[in-house]
């Protein structure tokens, strides 16, 4: 498959009272047309920032320090303001985590769906209207014809997330970024939204970046998985391979600390300790204070992010020749 996006050495830092937060500190990956990439990590690992940086939507105190992001041959980070705007919502769109706050409370839902269409001059006003109705139907809103002119507060949480998805799909984007799209939802609704995402991916043939902290979900859903820890990529791998052979101790830890519905009592082996401060991250490997296998080299030297097998990248001193040697 052809390459849609390639990110090289992306660094995004935030200025804070107590220093510079290196939220994303040199990450590189690629994404093909039609591929689903899941970025997995805990809060503060930089997974959201890494994608918001692409569209230059990070907060005012943040800045992209270095790197490039080649999207269909253009470097997103070097585009002019107007050029990047042309891409937002049209070629790349985002589904945000919290559907409650991500919709304008005083604007009718239909209007909010129409906006990207109108802004990108994809079609006329009249057509955009019909398109909004059609999109609502597609994302499974009952009585979509009337509800299109309702306000967001008249929708339930799941419905709102469906609206968000409709907005994201409005211009037939090439890439949809779904930033924890189900975290704020109830269990049963969560499943509905995941199903919807799968369907839409099929229907629209888009690439998807799914950001989630739920490694189980990522492993089920994605083609490629990318595990982030403290602003860096720990492991990046096609998902099949990852399921068979997760290499990074953090990936292993995440899997073993995830409670599966079938898990046996007392079988849980959590990762000890807490995620590090990103203002003064630990020396060497950032994971070493929590790594049960940590050795001297891990404390002193930052591991190289290297390809250990075909398409399987890991940043760990202990991985050698595609195997984890503790």
């Amino acid at each position: 498959m052809a390459e849609l996006l390639r990110v090289n050495n992306l660094k995004t830092y935030f200025d804070r009272y107590d220093g510079v937060v290196k939220a994303v500190d040199g990450i590189s990956y690629k994404l093909d047309y039609g591929e689903t990439l899941a970025i997995v990590g805990e809060s503060g690992s930089g997974k959201t920032v890494s994608v918001l940086s692409l569209l230059r939507l990070i907060k005012r105190n943040g800045r992209v320090v270095d790197g490039e992001a080649i999207f269909e041959g253009k470097d997103l980070l070097k585009l002019s303001k107007e050029e990047i705007r042309q891409i937002r919502g049209k070629d790349i769109s985002i589904v945000f985590q919290d559907p409650m706050t991500s919709l304008n409370p005083i604007m009718r839902v239909g209007m909010q769906i129409m906006e990207p269409i109108l802004w990108h001059r994809v079609m006329s006003d009249k057509e955009a209207r019909d398109r909004a109705v059609e999109l609502l139907r597609l994302v499974g809103i009952p009585e979509y014809k009337t509800r299109v002119w309702d306000y967001p507060f008249q929708f339930s949480g799941g419905m709102r997330q469906r609206v968000m998805i409709a907005i994201a799909l409005a211009c037939n984007p090439k890439l949809v970024i779904a930033d924890e799209p189900t975290t704020a939802l109830d269990v049963t609704v969560r499943a509905q939204i995941l199903n919807l995402l799968s369907d839409m991916k099929e229907e629209f043939k888009t690439s998807v970046i799914l950001i989630t902290h739920d490694i189980t979900l990522a492993m089920n859903f994605a083609d490629t998985i990318m595990v982030m820890y403290a602003g860096k990529i720990a492991e990046y791998s096609p998902v099949e391979r990852f399921i068979r052979n997760p290499l990074h101790p953090y990936s292993q830890g995440l899997i073993s600390s995830t409670l599966d519905i079938k898990a046996k009592e007392g079988s849980l082996r959590p990762i000890p300790g807490n995620p590090p401060s990103l203002v003064s991250p630990p020396s060497g490997c950032r994971f070493h204070p929590r790594c049960v296998y940590a050795q001297d080299i891990c404390r002193e030297q930052e591991p190289e992010y290297k390809e250990v097998e075909d398409g399987h990248y890991v940043a760990c001193h202990l991985v050698k020749g595609g195997k984890f040697n503790a």
Binding site: Y17, S280, P282
Partner: protein, 290 residues
């Protein structure tokens, strides 16, 4: 790592964190420094002021600023600089004093309403609503008429008209806090009501209350000056900015120094308080809306 550990050991309290945020706001810090300076000056005014505020120099009326009278003299030959110092002191007294009144009434009414709820809450809040709708300025004028024009009575009057906002704030805080999880936790631990109020609710209400007070102080000063402009302010010869400005405006053509100095100090002080209020609001209540 070491640094972080050390910090841990001491612990940064809510207040330390707030102070850190406050420090970032340069205007607020400048305002605070200004306010601290004028408070110190106000404490020592009788020793700092070159002349008593009411000492006339009949041979030196309307004098322009000079080495002897730094900011000139007024229609009675009284030293404008000294009068400004005393006016500042009075303004601070009224500003702070009125907020003490506001605090007492507001906290009592607000917390009773918040804690008791139900009927008492409804009644108290109705009263507060009425107070809110009372035309403040006119009510102040009436109160001053009733109670007289002393420094103390004016600050009481300003306080009496200004407590409704505080009561609402306190009530809101109490309503929120009494259902807050950590208060619920305390209740689950078997803490008595008194203990909860003392250790859990009151300390946590402090932030918003301080912000409200910080904005109330310049407001009190402002109200006094408004009263003074229609002859309802502090009784002369006691100087206040309001009556100095009011008197000075009459002389603006011939003796502009009589109005420029009071207006400048007055505006500067109010600006300082407002900036400090802004700073405190952002520092103590990071997610505030206004």
């Amino acid at each position: 790592m070491e640094v972080a550990l050390k910090q841990r050991r001491r612990g940064t309290s809510y207040w330390a964190a707030a102070w850190r945020r406050f420090k970032k706001n340069k205007m607020a810090v400048a305002g605070l420094i200004y306010i601290i300076i004028i408070i110190i000056i106000s404490i020592f005014t009788p020793w700092i002021a070159p002349y008593p505020y009411d000492e006339p120099h009949y041979a030196h009326t309307f004098e322009k600023p000079s080495a002897r009278f730094w900011w000139g003299t007024d229609d009675l030959g009284r030293d404008m600089f000294s009068r400004n110092l005393y006016a500042m002191r009075n303004a601070l007294l009224i500003g702070f004093g009125s907020q003490i009144v506001v605090l007492i009434i507001g906290v009592i009414i607000g917390s009773i309403a918040g804690f008791r709820g139900g009927r008492i809450d409804t009644i108290l809040m109705r009263i507060t609503d009425i107070m809110y709708a009372f035309p403040t300025f006119l009510f102040n004028v009436i109160l001053v008429t009733v109670m007289g024009r002393g420094l103390f009575t004016i600050l009481v009057a300003v306080g009496l008209t200004g407590w409704a906002g505080m009561a609402r704030l306190v009530r809101g805080m109490v309503m929120y806090l009494k259902n807050a999880e950590f208060v619920e936790a305390a209740r689950a631990l078997g803490a008595k009501e008194g203990y909860i109020i003392r250790k859990y609710i009151l300390p946590n209400m402090l932030g918003p209350i301080i912000v409200s007070l910080a904005f109330g102080i310049p407001n009190g000063i402002w109200i006094e000056s408004g009263l003074a402009l229609i002859g309802m302010g502090v009784r002369p010869p006691m100087p206040s900015w309001g009556n100095m400005i009011g008197a000075g405006v009459a002389y603006i053509m011939a003796f502009p120094h009589m109005v420029i100095f009071p207006v400048l100090t007055f505006a500067l002080t109010l600006l300082a308080f407002t900036y400090v209020g802004d700073g405190l609001r952002d520092a103590l209540n990071p997610r505030s809306e206004v």
